[in-house]
């Protein structure tokens, strides 16, 4: 059995000998959880969770979650005790019944991801929008969490 480990295309130089010729090798690649390029992480029990970035500046905390192929009604965002939770379910389209699937790399099903915020935020002013498959959440920092300039007086 010849196991050709999938190589990251950025690092491998192309050579015709690397051609993945057999179905078995393709299957190995599909089952290999560390395949580069998934827009999500394989969860502990085989589910999936979206890729998330967290940024902050003086005024806000910003979250970006990669959730392609959803309707905004299917995404649930909750905030409690300093934790932001993004959850929902990505449904497969009903037409999948017909036809035969050759390759299935996309994840479907329920997802659930919680993250705690680096500072205190003002829950009332949280804003979220969903565009091009990316969910962007903006959480304004609470007044007391913003760095304050302290005046130095010289007497």
């Amino acid at each position: 059995m010849n196991l050709i480990r999938y190589q990251d295309p950025e690092l491998a130089t192309w050579s015709p000998l690397n051609r993945l010729a057999s179905l078995r090798e393709e299957m190995n690649r599909l089952l290999d959880g560390s395949l580069a390029g998934f827009t999500g992480n394989v969860g502990l029990f085989g589910g999936w969770s979206p890729t998330v970035d967290v940024f902050q500046d003086k005024e806000n905390v910003y979250i970006k979650a990669e959730l392609p192929g959803m309707k905004k009604e299917e995404i649930e965002i909750t905030f409690q005790d300093g934790m932001l939770t993004i959850s929902g379910e990505r449904k497969q389209e009903s037409e999948v019944r017909e036809g035969e699937s050759f390759r299935s790399e996309r994840f479907f099903g329920k997802f659930h991801r919680s993250m705690s915020m680096p500072t205190k935020v003002d829950a009332e002013k949280i804003k979220a929008c969903y565009k091009d498959g990316i969910l962007s959440v903006e959480l304004p920092k609470a007044a007391e969490a913003k760095a304050k300039q302290i005046e130095v007086t010289v007497s």
Binding site: V52, V54, I134
Partner: protein, 127 residues
Amino acid sequence: MNPVAKTQERSVEQPVSRMPSWELPPANIREEHDAYLLELEMPGVSKNGLEVTVENNELTIVGHRGDAEPQGEVVYRESRHGDYRRTFEIDTSIDTSKIVAKMEQGILKLMLPKAESLKPRKIQVAD
């Protein structure tokens, strides 16, 4: 044999340090009665950032991410901010002039119709 499923990851022939870093979008490939359906996940790409080309039985999809540079400092980062690129070798049984592409919420759906002559055809049995 999977006419569409053979994926050849072409990398640019350059020294590693100067390679553009592409992300590989996950794909679902399905065969239907009269066409192949290809779905690629490319969050952050809109219709304007998309390039789909067919050349010599190779279908290449490039997705440029339109999302703005992140504001502020990074607290935690998982995404790999490169553009997306993937190439598929497609069989001659596909009518490349009739490929249809649709982009919605970061998912590209491509419909690759089978050439007329290859559709399953019912043959009438003469009495």
